[in-house]
């Protein structure tokens, strides 16, 4: 059961088209999994459309009028869109260790860009995805009992739970939950779900590990993986 939703203001800004592309992708993917927010966005979009497109265009120059005229002429030369050939429809699932996970509709178009899974410390797996926007996007799978060492953030971290459940010492999350973290949050994600937990995550700055031996990881990224 989804408990953690984007803030009402975020949903409103999404409907207005005022969010950054990264945030928009995350909100849209959450809405794929959450009927409640989907409904809010739908209602808000209808209001916005009526409001935004009410602005009566004024002071037209002859130049703009001509541009629009020739635009109309060129558009009506275009053929009707051909129905999607099945080979062009992106896959709707991803696979890890013989298991298939259904991916929210918004994220499906990125599946073809997905890199290989790589194993990380602590029963973690990650596969990078190119969302074509600033920030690093990954599918991350926490195996049963696995997790990420305690860390804080240098920028934003958006997470959407796709399958299973995890706990980060602050809250317990399940499929559909949307989590936004920043410099002010320190947490320790860990999944005790017997089936593990798959999330989609976007970061704009490196994590900063905050406790014990995990702090050794901070220099390693720079020394070893440049």
């Amino acid at each position: 059961m989804t408990k953690f939703h984007p803030a009402p203001e975020q949903l409103k800004q999404f409907a207005q088209g005022a969010l950054s592309p990264v945030e928009a992708i995350m909100i849209s993917a959450h809405c794929d999994m959450c009927a409640r927010c989907q409904h809010v966005v739908k209602t808000e979009t209808a209001q916005q459309a009526n409001h935004v497109l009410s602005d009566s265009p004024s002071n037209y120059t002859e130049h703009i009028r001509q541009d629009l005229d020739s635009m109309l002429a060129s558009i009506t030369q275009l053929p009707k869109a051909r129905p999607f050939r099945s080979s062009r429809i992106p896959p709707s699932t991803i696979e890890l260790d013989g298991r298939r996970f259904s991916v929210p509709r918004t994220l499906r178009k990125f599946i073809p860009t997905m890199g290989n899974w790589s194993g990380l410390v602590g029963r973690l797996w990650q596969a990078p995805v190119d969302i074509g926007a600033s920030g690093a996007a990954n599918f991350i799978y926490m195996g049963p009992g696995g997790g990420v060492p305690e860390h804080t953030h240098r920028g934003f971290e958006f997470t959407l739970v796709i399958d299973g459940e995890f706990d980060d010492g602050i809250n317990h999350y399940a499929a559909g939950d949307f989590i936004a973290m920043d410099e002010e949050h320190t947490h320790t994600p860990r999944s005790d779900d017997p089936h593990g937990c798959l999330v989609f995550s976007v970061l704009d700055q490196p994590l900063h590990f905050t406790s014990g031996i995990a702090r050794l990881l901070n220099p390693f990224s720079h020394v070893f993986f440049r």
Binding site: G17, A18, S20, P21, K42, T45, A46, A49, N50, V52, L53, S54, D55, P57, Y60, L68, M71, L72, S74, I75, T76, L78, P79, K80, A81, L96, D97, N116, W117, S118, G119, L120, V121, G122, R123, L124, W125, G132, A133, S134, A136, N138, V148, L203, D204, P206, L207, G212, I213, R215, L216, L217, N218, P219, F220, S221, H222, V223, F224, F225
Partner: protein, 203 residues
């Protein structure tokens, strides 16, 4: 045959919801019969409005016109996807424009900052071609890293611990241990090399 768009003055005061029924019929006519006349009506109503919206959002005439062109092309080419029962023409067209704007912004941002994923997720990556080739139990664990750390020569361990776990500067460590800064630096370098070697031998 099309001869210009009738940008009638009266058009500009009609609210989207007041002409929804009329616009729906035009879009259906485009879907069913590729009717250019009907499309011209939809275009002359929405294109100037989309341009105003896009200009506010993108702040650039060329990008605004690109957004209008892409949006209205979609309306022409995908009119058969419009469903009046699911929403009004303005909601449908606005949603198309909104999605196109997000895509345009993504393309503008793309490659502007080329950040490597490994830099952002500084956890030790054991590169494997395929998750299915390695069992989930064979991964390196934090405990193993702790073990590697414990196996460092005692002098190197002290330096690494002070710098990376306690967060001290190299100068502070030199002062505390009463050794030259150069020695702290070389011990750090040797320790990291050793750890790196152990990680590579892990497989």
């Amino acid at each position: 045959m099309l001869v210009g768009i009738p940008l009638e003055q009266s058009n500009s005061v009609v609210k989207p919801k007041d002409c929804a029924g009329e616009m729906s019929e035009y879009i259906v006519a485009v879907a069913e019969g590729r009717c250019k006349r009907s499309f011209a009506r939809v275009f002359s109503y929405f294109a100037p409005r989309l341009r105003s919206y896009a200009l506010k959002q993108m702040g650039n005439e060329a990008l605004a016109m690109e957004l209008v062109q892409d949006t209205m092309s979609n309306v022409w080419q995908k009119a058969h996807l419009f469903n009046a029962e699911k929403g009004s023409p303005s909601t449908w067209i606005f949603t198309i424009a909104r999605n196109i704007r997000f895509d345009m912004l993504r393309k503008l941002q793309n490659r502007k900052e080329d950040i490597c994923s490994d830099d952002l997720w500084p956890v030790l990556c054991e590169q494997t071609a395929d998750a299915n080739e390695t069992s989930l139990d064979e991964q390196i664990t934090l405990e193993q890293i702790g073990f590697m750390f414990e196996s460092l020569p005692i002098k190197q361990k002290a330096v690494i611990e002070a710098i990376y776990i306690d967060g001290k500067s190299q100068q502070e460590v030199a002062d505390e241990l009463s050794i030259p800064l150069g020695t702290v630096k070389s011990r750090t370098r040797l320790a990291l090399q050793r750890l790196k070697g152990m990680l590579q031998d892990h497989d």
